[in-house]
Symmetry: C2
Subunit: 310 residues, 2 copies
DNA sequence: TGTTAAATTTGAATTAAATTCATATATGAA
DNA sequence: TTCATATATGAATTTAATTCAAATTTAACA
């Protein structure tokens, strides 16, 4: 009766707190997940969640099954990796380049998990700034780029990771503080504080401001914390991933606003040459990134990818 | 893709060595199991078993998944018990009586497993010989009888355990050594060596010899080893569970024969008052017996019981 | 070297289970 | 009260698992 799929659902519910979001994460409808959980509750004749407007809260019984999920799922994944190893030698190397600045936030736990899963693979982070990271793949200087899809993906393959919302960050007393969302025009003549990368690589500029032909000033800073300080001291506004600014918003250091009518979302992929991306450990890097980020980053949405078959 | 049901199937295959027997054990057809395993192999693109006339042998990949099963299934069962505990206090006592002599062979590992699973339940074995063990239930002297179903099961409930074959045991040079199976007439004027219990409680007498009106002599011994010694030294023949005589047969100390045209099978149940048998820990005793015996006793067949819902 | 018995495999038909769709219901905030 | 945001429900549908009825495969044995 209890199946692994139930455990995965419980984990998704724990991560998102909401049935609807959890359903997205396991690629089911909200209704399907509701039926699934209900079936479990009926089978064991016990309530697993306290339902409320604000979402689901685990009861002790629900928590017990969640604990089981957290215990079992990693063991299962490790077994699946071992099956791959039994098929053939899986040693190799994996040089990762990050296209996105903020990705450094979660890369450390990802690399830790990866090293534990694939001790025989030599994994490295390619250091330094690169204006065209995808080019490093063809040049043989890197194996995987974590970032958006490049224009021309000749000879490259990608695995979908997740998407996240980029939100505008303002000082708490900014004139726009009462709007629920900022439109392109709201940025006119503002100072936009960004990482020091080309305009083409900054989503809000490429997708919002440039199409609307908005004039704005620009100022750069290397570190997220520096950008936040500049915003808080009213030197300008920024646009950053929702999960990177959470702490600052919670402490009323800055406020965050959606951008555009439906929000500005950015998608992340693991990109590499075809030869690299068929390797089980490269596919597993994508799976690990998805898992680690799903667990740690609030508000992200996993991109559909059928499933990553090692 | 991989589900707990697959792990249970793998465990059953490991225990029985044959797809057909494993299928019985998980209450599926042999075909269904074949499809199930094939689906796993296709999914992971790896061979899990070496098939042969003699049954299935695990490949390293199959073994890896079997290891996973052996790691996960106990954790799952423990979680299910914990769910019960969360519903209500489950302390109590459980006094077990054995109707069958040979059951002592496997009772120790069962009681160990039970104590681990239900530390708050006081479990005891009711000592001494009882000509009518079921009577102890109504008399309040015992909580569960492990044995066959009594004639009148007034106010009693039972949970099915398993059935096993009772085989005739002969000295290796016995005149009947070349028959593949013994019929009732073959016992005429032989000496039957049994445990010291009433004739009505001895299956071969009640079900085979008495109906055929065969005359035989009888001699008793307390211990299985004593019975085997008597058989080996040509003092008579015995009828014992197939799993209890394995060692002796393997060492050519005695030989074993099927009894009757389709074998003589005996069924075992856990029997108790209705109030007792609804308790989760009583139901779980039955589950534990089934599990432990399935794992350790060759040639038994689990009785259908839908499933034991704690 | 057939023959047979005891296995597993296969593919189509069937059955059962999971999922979706469309809608209802519940909850707390405004 | 109404609205926005959740979860629940039941019927229809889709998908997956299982059975049924052969077809193979394999090794032992005559």
């Amino acid at each position: 009766m209890l199946e692994i799929r139930h455990l995965k659902s419980l984990k998704a519910i724990a991560e998102t707190g909401k049935l609807g979001l959890a359903a997205e994460r396991v690629f089911l409808t909200q209704s399907a997940l509701s039926h699934q959980i209900r079936a479990l509750e009926t089978h064991y004749n016990i309530v697993l969640f306290k339902r409320s407007y604000a979402g689901l809260r685990f009861t002790p019984a629900g928590q017990r099954l969640l604990d089981l999920a957290n215990e079992l799922l990693p063991l299962i994944e490790q077994s699946e990796r071992d099956l791959i190893r039994l098929k053939s030698d899986q040693s190799g190397e994996l040089r990762i380049v990050l296209e996105c600045h903020t990705c450094f936030d979660w890369l450390t736990p990802v690399m830790d998990a990866f090293r534990r899963a694939w001790p025989e693979v030599e994994v490295d982070l390619v250091a330094g700034f690169h204006s065209d990271p995808w080019h490093l793949l063809h040049a043989g200087k890197a194996d995987v780029v974590i970032g958006g899809l490049p224009e021309k993906i000749k000879d490259l393959q990608h695995l979908a990771l997740f998407k996240f919302e980029i939100m505008a960050v303002l000082p708490p007393d900014h004139a726009l503080r009462n709007k629920s969302r900022l439109l392109a025009a709201d940025f006119a003549n503002e100072t936009l504080i960004t990482y020091p990368v080309p305009e083409a690589r900054i989503d809000i500029i490429r997708q919002v401001l440039q199409p609307a032909n908005i004039h704005f000033n620009r100022r750069t800073a290397e570190l997220t914390i520096a950008i936040m300080q500049l915003v808080a001291s009213r030197r300008g506004i920024a646009a950053l991933p929702s999960w990177g600014i959470q702490n600052y918003v919670e402490h009323d250091y800055v406020i965050a606003k959606h951008i555009g009518t439906s929000g500005l979302w950015s998608e992340l992929y693991a990109i590499g040459t075809s030869e690299m991306m068929v390797r089980p450990y490269a596919k597993d890097l994508a799976r690990i990134i998805r898992d680690v980020c799903a667990e740690n980053l609030k508000g992200i949405k996993l991109l559909e990818s059928k499933q990553i078959n090692l």
